[in-house]
């Protein structure tokens, strides 16, 4: 079959359109469609992967060649990220299958499909305005998903998200506008080629706008006020979606622009510093959280800080490490959110103190949570260990020893609060009364897949590193991007 990257956008969008209609006839179909779509897309992603590894696939939409028309750029990096998104999406769908029992189901799946479409769109598009559209699709879907439970807190969180998210899109749009005004093109590769000619002042101006715009979405410190609320109030699988898909998409965008368009040394330093601050503040805040999902949210922010540090170092090795961490964080944090979802469900409260002794009552779910916790702390032989190690070595090689120390310090904090929760799960008297409800098989399978991935990557890290190498190269190598992006 002849696959095309367009499928990544078109198929979920179509599915999102289809779902409400089908929902009028069959609820089961609504549940099944996203799964089928994601399965199909995973298949597409995997079959396109080797091709993309050889040479980036540049798909031209509507016959206009770049730089005039919209093009999709499906290189090794996009392939890597899209595959990751599909994996996470599939797992989350599987989990949601039994977990989301609240109506309107079709809206949930529709929004989910929109998020997938938007996020993959951001990752593979070669056009900045197109990216704006996808960003907005993702954002609007994400706002709605945050408020999906229709409760008091959900609405509040969603509103905050929306408020800050609007800033993000406004700044991004302004940046797009300024780029267009200065270069007269919207194709990223073309802009990259023409950016040298742009004087420094507007360049910096644009860069700041980009930085703030994507900084909001990728949870950099002063800009991440929305994140803890949104993570904790959205349905649990959506927490995974945020951590594993939405944030990663905007991180991708930020990095792509940083490397391809600007390449200021000072910008990377700023990102590094912001990353350190983000990480420290988030981990410290996570330490004192009373609610498990809020804790996970802060932990997620902290991990983003870590990723930003690695990106901020800006070397080839550090980008590799960052991408590795992107992958690991997506997998592990999704696992944690999924496990936390059922833990909260069984304990009937969002509070950490309500989780006492659930390890005896719900052994498998608790085990997955514990495994995720150990992995994200960075203990071998789980995947988190390797990426943390890579980040540390690359950061140290870049000469930022203070950052190494701070990363390790925040690692200790992280260990403390995760182990507190794990300890409560296993070593407290069982207080929950929930002996009737069991974690459904689909949920367990979903978590199991992620757990297996974590263990597999932990034991054979070089396999994933082999995939990351070309991806990192794709991100760092500006000339190649321009070359392939403009179809030279």
């Amino acid at each position: 079959m002849n696959f095309s990257p367009v499928h990544f956008i078109a198929v979920p969008l179509f599915a999102a359109f289809l779902i409400p209609i089908v929902g009028r006839f069959s609820k089961e179909a609504v549940k099944l469609i996203p799964g089928l779509v994601l399965l199909y897309l995973s298949y597409v992603a995997i079959s396109l992967y080797p091709i993309a590894l050889q040479k980036p696939i540049v798909e031209i939409i509507a016959g206009f060649k770049p730089p005039f028309g919209i093009s999709l750029y499906f290189g090794p990096l996009a392939a890597f990220l899209v595959t990751m998104v599909m994996l996470i999406g599939l797992v989350i769908w599987l989990y949601s299958y039994k977990f989301i029992i609240r109506e309107p189901l079709e809206k949930y799946y529709m929004l989910f499909m929109l998020v997938i479409a938007g996020a993959t769109g951001i990752m593979i598009t070669g056009d900045i305005f197109n990216m704006f559209v996808f960003l907005e699709i993702t954002s609007i879907a994400a706002y709605s998903l945050t408020a999906f439970l229709r409760d008091k807190d959900g609405a509040e969180a969603a509103f905050k998200y929306l408020l800050i998210g609007s800033f993000s899109s406004t700044f991004y749009l302004l940046a797009v506008m300024l780029i267009y005004a200065n270069t007269g093109t919207l194709n990223i590769a073309d802009i990259a080629a023409k950016m040298q000619t742009v004087p420094n002042q507007p360049k910096i101006f644009i860069m700041i706008l980009f930085l703030v715009g994507f900084g909001i979405e990728s949870e950099l410190f002063p800009l991440n006020g929305w994140a803890p609320d949104a993570y904790s109030q959205a349905p649990s699988p959506i927490g995974g979606v945020f951590g594993g898909i939405v944030v990663k998409a905007s991180t991708y965008a930020m990095m792509r622009f940083a490397f391809v368009l600007f390449n200021f040394h000072s910008m990377f330093e700023l990102i590094l510093v912001l990353g350190v601050i983000t990480m420290l503040i988030a981990e410290m805040s996570a330490m004192r959280q009373q609610q498990i999902k809020r804790m996970l949210a802060f932990s997620s922010i902290g991990q983003m800080g870590l990723i930003m540090i690695a990106f901020g170092v800006g070397t080839d090795a550090s980008v590799r490490a960052a991408l590795f961490q992107v992958f690991n964080h997506a997998v592990i944090k999704t696992l944690l959110f999924l496990a936390a979802g059922y833990l909260v469900f069984h304990s009937g409260s969002k509070k950490i103190s309500a989780l006492d002794g659930l390890g005896h009552n719900k052994p498998i779910t608790s085990f997955f949570f514990a495994l995720g916790a150990l992995a994200i702390i960075g203990l071998p032989p789980f995947s988190g260990f390797w990426s943390k190690l890579y980040i540390l070595t690359s950061v140290a090689k870049g000469g930022f020893l203070a950052s190494v120390v701070l990363i390790l310090f925040s690692g200790i904090i992280e260990a403390i609060y995760y182990l507190r929760v794990v300890g409560r799960l296993y070593f407290k008297k069982d207080v929950s009364q929930d002996n009737v409800r069991r974690t459904p098989i689909s949920g367990l399978v979903a978590m199991g897949i992620l757990a297996v991935v974590i263990l597999y990557v932990g034991l054979y890290p070089h396999q994933i590193i082999d995939l990351i190498k070309p991806a990192a190269h794709d991100l760092v190598d500006k000339a190649a991007y321009i070359k392939y992006g403009l179809l030279h």
Binding site: A158, F159, T170, L186, R288
Partner: protein
């Protein structure tokens, strides 16, 4: 030039509303104004005085007489998106009012720290 100034003024007014007004509906309105400002800015980039539509309807029409069509396309999209965001925002405002019985954003801060 007036377009640019107006646009920037609109953005600033909107920002002011968003940052200082306590009523969430006013905040949403502020967002909307910012949106309009950005759109105005965007469209004015491609504007050329006395320009015409970029359609080769008249013979001898040179590209430098045509307004840039791309910003127009962009703005159309942006307006639609802005509308969508505003709609979502307003629906959230309704939901918030249902739950909190207030529109004061200072009172809606159960999720904190």
């Amino acid at each position: 030039m007036i377009y640019y100034i107006t646009a920037i003024l609109l953005i600033l007014i909107g920002m002011y509303a968003v940052l200082t007004k306590k009523n969430i509906i006013k905040i949403v309105i502020g967002l909307s104004i910012v949106d309009s400002g950005v759109n105005l800015l965007l469209i004015s980039i491609g504007y050329i005085k006395n320009g015409t539509a970029p359609i080769f309807s008249v013979k001898g029409l040179t590209p430098d007489k045509m307004v840039d069509p791309v910003p127009q396309a962009l703005v159309l999209t942006a307006i639609v998106i802005g509308l969508g965001v505003t709609a979502v925002a307003l629906s959230l405002v309704i939901r918030l009012y249902d739950h909190h019985k207030t529109l004061n954003i200072d009172k809606i801060r159960k999720l904190k720290w």
